[in-house]
């Protein structure tokens, strides 16, 4: 049973990440490859602040604050551009963050990572079991998803969609594209810090390999596969991308090839989907160019 709870924690983390990315990528139409950098900043910020003696709440708030500042800096630079150039700039920032996590050994302990991250304590109970973490993950989603869903259906969400559809036309109606995109980018990043902190406390050990470009591409793939710009897409995408490899475990594939086969299946799924259903399984608009 604890395996199921473990899966629900991992799924919950990816739901928070993909729903936050959905704000910029799905609603704003900005294909970004640095969401894992914000996820990682949340995780590292939380773990490092706890090491300095900060309280759990203080460490979480600090991690969100650091991620917000990072997103502001990246957003101000990258949002001057759109399309492919924006994508490559975010990709560049993702790589910079990865390089910093690997090489700033004095701060991050480099490739050795940070171990023994304390478990959180809530109402006098220390969270240890997968069940307790599953409840904590559900509580995180219960806090974050209503905030995001409120934005999705708010005038702000509508303006983001209008900018995605035609930025020139939206600007000609008095909409400040830069300000709106920047807010969405920062909010998405700040929200990604939450699952980062949760992940750090859950696995109690983090290293840079969890927050690489590959992870950012994985998050973008969730939205490409499930569909973006609505509430269904990230759910469908996250369930398939996170749970499919687990389902494949039961096929009895030899361990030596199981990992590679999973990658092949992911790749094939994306190719077939882009070919036959470019909006994603439950998406409302087509993100990829013809």
């Amino acid at each position: 049973m604890s395996y199921v709870f473990h899966l629900s924690v991992i799924l919950g983390i990816y739901l928070a990440l993909s729903y936050s990315l959905n704000l910029t990528m799905g609603f704003g139409g900005l294909l970004s490859f640095c969401h894992a950098a914000f996820y990682g900043t949340g995780a590292y910020g939380y773990a490092l602040l706890l090491q300095t003696g900060a309280s759990q709440a203080g460490a979480l708030a600090g991690a969100i604050g650091i991620t917000t500042i990072l997103a502001l800096l990246i957003g101000v630079v990258s949002l001057r551009f759109r399309g492919d150039i924006f994508l490559f700039i975010t990709l560049g920032f993702q790589m910079i963050v990865s390089v910093v996590l690997y090489n700033w050994v004095e701060l991050t302990n480099g490739p050795y990572g940070i171990a023994s991250i304390p478990r959180p304590e809530l109402f006098g109970v220390t969270m240890r079991t997968p069940l307790q973490y599953a409840i904590l993950t559900a509580a995180m989603l219960a806090l974050l998803l209503p905030l995001l869903f409120r934005l999705y259906r708010s005038p702000f969400g509508l303006l983001l969609k209008a900018l995605r559809e035609d930025e020139v036309a939206a600007k000609s109606l008095g909409i400040n594209a830069h300000a709106i995109f920047l807010q969405a980018f920062i909010i998405a990043a700040a929200i990604a810090a939450f699952p980062g902190a949760l992940y750090a406390s859950y696995v109690t050990y983090i290293d840079p390999t969890s927050f690489t470009l590959k992870e950012s591409i994985f998050l973008a793939a969730i939205l490409l596969l499930g569909g973006a710009g609505n509430r269904k897409g990230p759910l469908v995408g996250a369930i398939i991308m996170v749970l499919l490899p687990e389902a494949l475990r039961f096929l009895g594939m030899p361990d030596a090839i199981a990992h590679n086969m999973r990658e092949v299946i992911y790749g094939l799924m994306l190719i077939f989907l882009m070919y036959f259903r470019p909006k994603g399984i439950a998406g409302e608009f087509r993100m990829t160019q013809r």
């Binding site: 905030l147 409120r150 934005l151 708010s154 005038p155 702000f156 969400g157 509508l158 303006l159 969609k161 209008a162 559809e165 035609d166 020139v168 036309a169 939206a170 600007k171 000609s172 109606l173 008095g174 909409i175 400040n176 594209a177 300000a179 709106i180 807010q183 969405a184 909010i187 710009g229 409302e284 608009f285």
Partner: protein, 254 residues
């Protein structure tokens, strides 16, 4: 002065080619002004410069006495200048109603936290905005299509929708780039009637349009600026310009 829009010695070049040269135009209030000329004369570029899509290399643009040269296009829109595009540019995946609502969203709703901190006020104000948007869809005759995706409309209906968006926003100045191009004769008539009606209602202080359709120019324009090779070749009352031999030669090849 009775001129709301003043274009003073504006020049714009792409590489070594000047597409606008010393353009000096005063667009009067309460009249409909047409910009005519052959393809490549610089009409659309002039609209780009006025609406902030392009920055002029030299010269200034004044609106209601304010120098708006080089302002970003959203700031120019907030100053009261609305723009209709040649290729319409509706938000295709949004519904027809949402297309109009987008323009009506008040400034404070452009801040994300407003939706979190003032949810009830936001919902109320959006309800009001939706009613207003419905009124403008009714005004242009698209009320029945309000729940349809804008991309599903015919090109002519998309033109009507873009007009509804502009009328709803209550711009005092409209720049219409070929408002009747590519639509049926019946739709041309409908569009002309709507623009004329809005001007006669006194809602628009400045209306300028680029047009190739002579019928539309004859029915709408009070004043015509004829452009040729990036310059204003000459200007005059519409009956004078349309009857002018050089215009017929340059433009219609007669």
């Amino acid at each position: 002065m009775n001129n709301a829009l003043l274009i003073k010695d504006v020049g714009k070049r792409f590489g070594d080619t000047w597409v606008l040269r010393d353009v000096r135009v005063a667009v009067p209030k309460g009249k409909i002004t047409a910009f005519m000329g052959p393809n490549g004369a610089g009409k659309t570029t002039l609209f780009h410069v006025i609406s902030g899509a392009l920055k002029p290399d030299i010269g200034h643009v004044y609106f209601e006495g304010v120098d708006i040269t080089g302002w970003p296009s959203h700031a120019i829109a907030l100053q009261g200048i609305g723009r209709q595009f040649q290729d319409v540019r509706v938000f295709k995946a949004l519904t027809v109603l949402e297309n109009v609502v987008v323009g009506l969203v008040p400034q404070q709703h452009q801040k994300a936290w407003w939706a979190w901190l003032q949810p009830i006020k936001t919902d109320r104000s959006m309800q009001k905005i939706r009613h207003e948007a419905e009124h403008w869809l009714d005004y242009v005759g698209l009320a029945d299509a309000r729940t349809q995706a804008a991309g599903e409309l015919s090109f002519g209906q998309q033109k009507l929708l873009s007009l509804a968006r502009l009328f709803a926003k209550d711009f005092s100045c409209l720049l219409l780039d070929e408002p009747t191009a590519g639509v049926s004769p019946a739709m041309i008539e409908r569009i002309i009637t709507l623009i004329r009606k809005r001007v006669d209602e006194g809602a628009l202080s400045v209306t300028a349009f680029v047009e190739h359709n002579m019928n539309a120019v004859e029915h709408l324009a009070d004043w015509i600026h004829f452009m040729h090779e990036g310059r204003i070749a000459f200007s005059g009352r519409s009956d004078h310009v349309l009857g002018c031999e050089i215009v017929r030669e340059l433009y219609m090849g007669i």
